[in-house]
């Protein structure tokens, strides 16, 4: 399902002394099935932007369409939007409330009014996708799990709604390196399997570089740059100017080329850099 955003502006506390312009004239389109990453400094408006995509926040001005539904239209039913667009919030584990993992994951699908067997099927499938063993976890209380496991339960709760657009707001914040990789691989896996549109909000360039089809850069409420990772991460100076970096691989490659090495134009994947270096270094040590 495609996403179209036109001239979206959002002002918090409009008209009061402390109003904040969180988004200013943001426009973009995401074709169906694309994997998009949104990166930006703290407070640049990423969370505000994605909360518009499933109608949780209403724009101050501007229009948003998901597929052929204009969700900024007042007559649109919220359930129809929520069915299509799944949103995983920052620190989603704080929204768990049920007695068992199974019941918690069932909350979303049940709200969609699905029959019991279908709900059950989806719970099993989403638990498998996020890497939680059904037999082991289904009947446990979500509150006795570790942070990483809780996060998986919360994400499963949204995946189980089988949205055609899946949005994740910094799903790896505050996790250990292993869970961090697991969650990202899981998102990739979901993307591959369901062919849905993914919007991933992240602070981490390395995560984004290898996975996203396109990268959107936000700065102080504006969409300042968008394009394929190769194009966007070429602009090291611009990115560091707005408080962002480039992926480590790109950084190393750039520093090597400053020292006179003939490095291919842009390197995003660690593997590519390693094979490039391995070719040039004498075997058995420098």
């Amino acid at each position: 399902m495609s996403i179209t955003v036109e001239n979206l502006t959002h002002i918090y506390n409009k008209g009061l002394a402390y109003e904040t312009i969180a988004l200013e004239d943001v426009s973009f389109t995401v074709p169906s099935g694309e994997f998009i990453a949104i990166i930006g400094h703290t407070g640049s408006g990423k969370s505000t932007l994605i909360q518009h995509l499933n109608g949780i926040l209403k724009p101050t001005s501007g229009e948003i369409s998901i597929g052929d539904i204009k969700i900024t239209d007042k007559r649109v039913k919220m359930v129809d939007i929520r069915k299509r667009v799944g949103l995983v919030f920052q620190y989603p584990e704080y929204q768990l409330f049920e007695e068992t993992v199974y019941q918690d994951i069932s909350f979303g699908p049940k709200n969609l009014g699905l029959p019991t067997e279908e709900v059950d099927r989806r719970i099993r499938k989403s638990m498998q996708l996020v890497g939680l063993d059904f037999e082991e976890f289904a009947e446990r209380s979500p509150f006795e799990l570790s942070g990483g496991q809780k996060r998986r339960v919360a994400i499963a709760g949204v995946i189980a709604m089988e949205p055609e657009v899946l949005i994740l707001d910094e799903p790896t914040a505050g996790l250990d390196p292993k869970s961090h990789q697991d969650i990202l691989n899981m998102v990739e896996e979901v993307h591959r399997e369901t062919k849905n549109t993914i919007v991933l909000v992240s602070h981490n360039m390395n995560d984004v570089a290898e996975r996203a089809d396109r990268v959107f850069i936000m700065d102080s409420g504006k969409l300042v740059k968008s394009g394929r990772p190769q194009e966007v991460f070429r602009e090291r100076e611009f990115l560091s100017h707005i408080g962002l970096g480039v992926p480590q691989t790109t950084e190393v490659a750039a520093l090597l080329s400053e020292r006179g090495f003939q490095v291919p134009e842009i390197l995003l994947r660690a593997d590519d850099l390693i094979s490039f270096l391995a070719e040039r270094l004498p075997a058995g040590g420098v």
Partner: protein, 278 residues
């Protein structure tokens, strides 16, 4: 949504009202509330409105923002208004079956509803222009005489500070949880009362867990910084009365004086004016 609640909320600003000693403001609000009960007719309300308008203008808090504080208690106001209007005996203006509206009832209803409105507006000005920390500093200082009688004033004030400090945090938390559950298709707005009450569970459970988490973190953080209670604690910004505070005192004295004089000498004048007009 939930952030619309302005009762007890602070409105940042740099007006004189924001800078006046909190103790003085607390006492002033108490005197103001007393004055509302001294006033017995609409002529008195003229004085109240002038006083309130002056203070509001000085505070630079937008009127729209102050009036929003009335929203949560609108039902109470309407309830009082209706009861007063229907329950007072006197000269009948309108009648239908067992219901009747009297001249005195109408007068009382408007009078009581206005008293409530003024009560809320006046006291919300206190919280709108005073930071919670300063407010509790003021309360602690005013309660000091009771310390001799064994009342743990510092601890009470600290509890109050913490409670006030975490109101916005909890509101924010509620807002976040509501949004998250809405994204999972939760519906808080339709259905019977029973269904709506049940719909609150997905909000309340995470909220309570969050509140306990915050409380625990805070207790740990305070202990880590060697907090031991009030004994021998000094303040970074000790409260001291300044010249503008003296001006404020004069203002309050004049206001109270006029209210009392009106009560003594002009009482009943409004009824005559109303009689002349209608």
């Amino acid at each position: 949504m939930i952030r619309d609640i302005t009762l007890g909320q602070y409105y940042p600003g740099y007006s004189i009202m924001h800078k006046i000693d909190p103790r003085l403001k607390i006492v002033a609000v108490m005197l103001y509330i007393a004055s509302l009960f001294i006033v017995k007719d609409f002529m008195g309300y003229v004085v109240v409105v002038i006083g309130l308008a002056t203070v509001t203008a000085i505070s630079k808090v937008p009127l729209r923002f102050i009036l929003r504080g009335l929203k949560p208690i609108l039902i109470i106001i309407i309830f009082t208004f209706t009861l007063n209007m229907l329950m007072t005996k006197g000269e009948i203006l309108w009648e239908w079956k067992f219901l009747h509206i009297t001249k005195e009832g109408l007068y009382n209803a408007v009078f009581m509803a206005l008293r409530l409105v003024f009560l809320i507006l006046g006291s919300s000005l206190l919280t709108l222009t005073t930071k919670p920390i300063k407010l509790t500093d003021g309360i602690e200082s005013l309660l000091k005489p009771l310390k001799r009688m064994g009342l743990p004033t510092h601890e009470l004030a600290m509890m109050m500070t913490i409670a006030l400090r975490f109101i916005p945090t909890l509101l924010e938390e509620t807002d976040k949880i509501m949004k998250a559950q809405m994204a999972r298709g939760a519906d808080f707005e339709t259905g019977s009362i029973f269904r709506r009450a049940k719909a609150l569970i997905p909000i309340l459970v995470p909220l309570f867990i969050g509140a306990f988490r915050i409380a625990q973190d805070l207790a740990l953080a305070m202990e880590a910084r060697c907090y031991r209670g009030g004994e021998g604690r000094t303040k970074l910004n000790a409260l001291k009365l300044k010249r503008k505070d003296a001006l404020a005192m004069v203002f309050i004295a004049v206001y109270l004086g006029i209210v009392i004089l009106e009560r003594i000498f002009l009482i009943g004048l409004d009824a005559k004016i109303i009689a002349l007009l209608f």
